[in-house]
């Protein structure tokens, strides 16, 4: 399974993502999920970014929150809505909104 998982919250109340082990995984950070890409707590980045996955963050939701490319962790790629469409159609076969 090639799974594109959308994370829309900063505090996740489900652990599903930790239990899935797809052949290929990307995590698309949207809405308040963008804080995973930008926020350090006590100096540490979000543990979500430690997962084996490709990480993306939606530019619209970054900028909405006063954030931008310069705030984003090195292993997260900033993308647009158009990029999301291409990702889910061309590189992944299933999606999950968590």
């Amino acid at each position: 399974m090639k799974l594109a998982a959308f994370v829309s919250d900063y505090r996740l109340n489900v652990d599903t993502l930790d239990r899935l082990n797809p052949e290929k995984l990307c995590i698309i950070l949207v809405q308040n999920g963008v804080y995973h890409a930008t926020t350090k707590e006590k100096g540490s980045p979000s543990s979500l970014l430690q997962k084996t996955a490709d990480f993306y963050v939606l530019i619209d939701d970054l900028q909405t929150r006063g954030l931008g490319n310069a705030d984003v962790a090195d292993n997260v790629k900033v993308i647009s809505y158009s990029d999301i469409v291409d990702l889910i159609f061309n590189e992944y076969d299933k999606t999950a909104w968590l």
Partner: protein, 119 residues
């Protein structure tokens, strides 16, 4: 080009999940994909006509009408809408209402399904 079915169960005002869904639908359509949008639960609030465009609240009637004119197929769960007092006469023109099996039928030939849960 493919078909994307989006289900969104979140309300019109609040989480901005419907804003995301509508914007994603529009972008997919611009890229030549066919898009079905299903709203259920609190998401049926999207179907109500006469939304006022206050800048403090999500306003999607305008963008939605533009997308419907371009071919967006959008349907609300009839039972979910009725349970909330959203009746047919208050429904936006072109916004369909069906039972839940419509959503499943839409997934039948969808290349991708993005299901966005509600509150």
């Amino acid at each position: 080009m493919g078909k994307l079915t989006i289900g969104c169960f979140a309300s019109l005002v609040g989480s901005m999940s419907l804003d995301f869904a509508v914007k994603l639908a529009g972008t997919a359509m611009e890229k030549g994909h066919k898009v079905d949008l299903w709203v259920s639960g609190n998401g049926t609030m999207l179907s109500i006509k006469g939304q006022r465009a206050f800048k403090d609240y999500s306003f999607l009637e305008g963008p939605l009408k533009e997308l419907m004119a371009k071919g967006l197929n959008v349907t609300a769960c009839e039972a979910c809408a009725e349970a909330r007092g959203y009746h047919k006469e208050n429904t936006m023109e072109g916004f369909k209402r069906h039972s839940m099996d419509w959503y499943l039928a839409s997934t039948f030939d969808a290349d991708r399904v993005l299901h966005i849960g509600g509150e």
